[in-house]
């Protein structure tokens, strides 16, 4: 991407941007105003529509608000909601477990497979592009749609899987199995994404180094470990963070299958069950949401530190 842009810019060779930026104060008044607007308007939008509401949710988590009525009806109840979430809400523990399982499985399955596919496809292989396209295709489908498509395979009475295996398993309904079945479907989509990220990362491997390793008589595995792996380190961190965030945010697929109940409890579905619908335990649901925000923030911070470090280099 960079190379293209630079070529278009007409300099003819890769260009390393200078670190020192221009100072705003050398601008005319009019331009200063424009610069200010160009920053403040989008910032207001993002703060108003994302950060503000996020803080609102955190505040609400300390109240017993039911989502109806006005300020006067709101009682602050301290940590009551959090106490209830952790001690008096049976679906909470399974939800945490499922999110953790989701995460672990995503690492062991789609992430490893995606990496493996990338390594395999990052060769001069005939039809490499076609393979890439096929593995990448599910990424454009929404998780809700993925749920529908897999239902045709998983359905107890009409699904393909039971017809082929001659079983009567209720893949999406049996609470001991459905999480795994959903993970296969969700992993089907995630793998292509991971593959793509690693493929992009692998492009950065210096072919000369690879050649050199090959000349030295290094085997595939050693070349990978010594030449390729170190280069992929930044990608690894991105992949870890994306996988964590995606695992935590997993929602659509469980929601379309059974509203995230009965074996498919996830924190995201519990939040939704509590804050929408007739339930409107807004304070309680917000406590669940706050737990999500806190966990996300840890990983968002890791991500930001990584990308900002890249920026500074």
């Amino acid at each position: 991407m960079t190379a293209t842009a630079v070529r278009e810019a007409g300099t003819g060779r890769p260009h390393r941007p200078r670190r020192t930026g221009r100072q705003v104060r050398t601008l005319t008044r009019r331009d200063q105003l424009i610069v200010a607007l160009m920053v403040t308007i989008p910032t207001l939008v993002v703060v108003g529509l994302v950060w503000g509401p996020a803080i609102g949710t955190i505040l609400l988590s300390f109240t017993d608000w039911n989502g109806i009525g006005n300020v006067g009806d709101i009682n602050f109840v301290g940590m009551e909601n959090y106490r209830n979430v952790t001690t008096n809400y049976p679906p909470f523990q399974p939800a945490i477990e499922h999110n953790v399982i989701w995460l672990v499985v995503f690492f062991l399955g789609p992430t490893l497979l995606g990496m493996l596919l990338a390594v395999m496809l990052d060769r001069q292989l005939r039809g490499s592009r076609i393979y890439q396209s096929i593995f990448f295709m599910p990424v454009v489908l929404s998780l809700a749609l993925v749920g529908f498509i897999w239902q045709l395979i998983y359905s107890r009475d009409q699904g393909l899987l039971n017809q082929v295996l001659g079983t009567q398993t209720d893949w999406f309904g049996d609470p001991d199995i459905n999480l795994w079945a959903v993970l296969v479907a969700a992993g089907w989509r995630h793998t292509g994404y991971i593959m793509l990220l690693y493929l992009a990362g692998l492009k950065a491997v210096d072919p000369v180094l690879r050649e050199a390793a090959a000349v030295d008589g290094a085997g595939e595995v050693r070349t990978f470990l010594q030449v390729v792996w170190p280069v992929m380190r930044p990608v690894n961190i991105i992949v870890i963070v994306i996988t964590v965030i995606e695992s935590l945010r997993a929602f659509d697929i469980a929601w379309v299958i059974n509203k995230g109940r009965n074996g498919l409890e996830l924190i995201s579905t519990l939040v939704t069950q509590n804050v929408i619908g007739e339930a409107s335990r807004v304070g309680f649901g917000s406590a669940l949401a706050t737990i999500m925000i806190v966990i996300s923030t840890v990983f968002i911070a890791i991500y930001l530190i990584q990308v900002m470090r890249e920026q500074r280099r």
């Binding site: 703060v47 108003g48 503000g52 505040l59 109240t63 300020v71 107890r156 409890e265 007739e278």
Partner: protein
């Protein structure tokens, strides 16, 4: 591109926009500054559209059969234009809170009982007592009571109800020589017979979480009586009481008679197994008929009342949820909305609806029963003979309790029926925290 730039020219709108935007940014506290619909609407309605103006109608009758019924009913209105806004049934329910607070349609579909009272108490539903003074004569006291909020005012116009019972196919029963059982013991014996005949005794699908409530309600009312049901639902009785444990225990004994893997099956899929003659019985509402193709198949459907468990309690409580309509607290066209409600509360409107959807029974006393099919007639008889009529677990108790506690708990029970003590204690603990707040 902040929202205020769309304040649409009006200075006040802009000012409010900016203020609320800021409040929103400052966190939840700002966002809670009262119900906007109170100030927003209202003045528009006085403008004199009158009874002849357009009335908006929010419909959750999204399935094919009922949708046609509503359309037919509105087509026959004739006193003004009705704009129907149909929203998918489940989505409507999920969004009901936002919907009611966001300025609902003038008239909209909902359910009777506690589920209506809950919103009436919050001021989210319009008082239509004056409509009732006109239409009241056409309804029984029970109907009126189910349409009345806790403050004694009316908020709801019933259209139809549908009894829950044990449904079966006459042809299958004739062929096998089964007879409707009157007591639970007979019921179990019969189920054993069905099993040996290669049939699943009871169709069952609880993927959506609510169908199992019907079974729970019936067992509870048969074992502990209607009054206990009411007290349990209102939070007065404990869920870990011995009474409730007996209900679960009895149910546990019945579970082997149910279709397995019920948690992954919708009620409609379970109805298919009855249709395909794989299951012999089905505890469900009369709307199950919607799943049976019109004609011979639908005519083959019959039911018997949920059997008696304890002869001291009897079997004269019937679960018969009522569906109907409510009015926005401040409709844009109040006059028109009330005129429409009067029409909906008439026998004529109900007859029109039931012609398209004969899987329910008209709520109006004068609803034309001559056109009823055998099942409707039987259903009407069942309900009119009933000593007490319950709505349904999720209509008789707090909605937040029903959806966030009872659905997962009943599903948990179906999954693992052995830890009744643990389960009921968990329900009671959660009940206390919800009802106490």
């Amino acid at each position: 591109m902040s929202p205020r730039s769309y304040g649409a020219g009006g200075v006040p709108a802009m000012a409010i926009g900016r203020r609320t935007m800021l409040k929103g940014m400052l966190g939840g506290a700002g966002a809670l500054a009262g119900l906007p619909l109170l100030s927003a609407c209202g003045d528009d309605s006085g403008g004199g559209g009158g009874a002849s103006g357009t009335v908006t109608f929010g419909s959750n009758w999204s399935d094919d059969v009922p949708k046609k019924g509503i359309q037919a009913m509105m087509d026959a209105y004739g006193k003004g234009k009705v704009d129907i806004n149909t929203v998918e049934h489940n989505s409507f329910q999920e969004q009901i809170n936002n919907y009611l607070q966001g300025g609902p349609d003038d008239v909209f579909g909902w359910f009777a009982g506690n589920r209506m009272q809950f919103f009436a108490e919050q001021g989210l539903v319009g008082d239509i007592s004056d409509v009732w003074s006109d239409i009241g004569g056409g309804f029984s006291d029970a109907m009126k009571q189910q349409s009345t909020g806790k403050d004694g005012k009316q908020y709801f116009v019933p259209i139809y109800y549908y009894p829950w019972a044990v449904f079966y196919r006459k042809s299958v029963w004739q062929e096998k020589g089964y007879e409707p059982p009157a007591t639970l013991d007979d019921f179990k014996t019969l189920a054993g017979q069905m099993k040996s005949d290669g049939l699943t005794p009871l169709a069952f699908g609880d993927s959506d979480g609510w169908p199992a409530m019907g079974t729970f309600d019936y067992l509870n009312m048969r074992i502990n009586g209607y009054d206990f049901h009411v007290q349990l639902m209102s939070g007065e009785k404990a869920w870990n009481s011995s009474e409730v444990k007996t209900v679960f225990d009895t149910w546990k004994g019945l579970l082997p008679l149910h279709q397995t893997d019920s948690l992954g099956r919708t009620w409609q899929e379970a109805a298919q197994s009855l249709l395909k003659k794989e299951s012999a019985m089905y505890v469900i509402g009369m709307f199950a008929g919607q799943q049976f193709p019109e004609g011979a198949e639908r005519d083959d459907l019959d039911f018997f009342p949920f059997p008696e468990v304890d002869s001291a309690v009897g079997a004269d409580s019937v679960e018969a949820p009522i569906d109907g309509v409510m009015m926005a607290p401040r409709p844009r066209n109040e006059e028109g909305a009330k005129a429409l409600l009067k029409y909906i509360g008439s026998a004529k409107a109900e007859d029109t609806y039931l012609k398209s959807d004969p899987n329910n029974i008209g709520a109006h006393n004068d609803a034309d029963t001559s056109g009823y099919n055998a099942l409707q007639k039987k259903g009407e008889e069942l309900v009119s003979k009933a000593k007490t009529i319950s709505q349904f677990l999720d209509r008789d108790t707090r909605p937040d309790f029903a959806s966030t506690v009872m659905i997962p708990s009943l599903q948990e029970f179906i999954r693992n029926p052995n830890d009744i003590d643990g389960l009921t204690k968990k329900i009671e603990d959660q009940k206390k925290s919800i009802f106490g707040s």
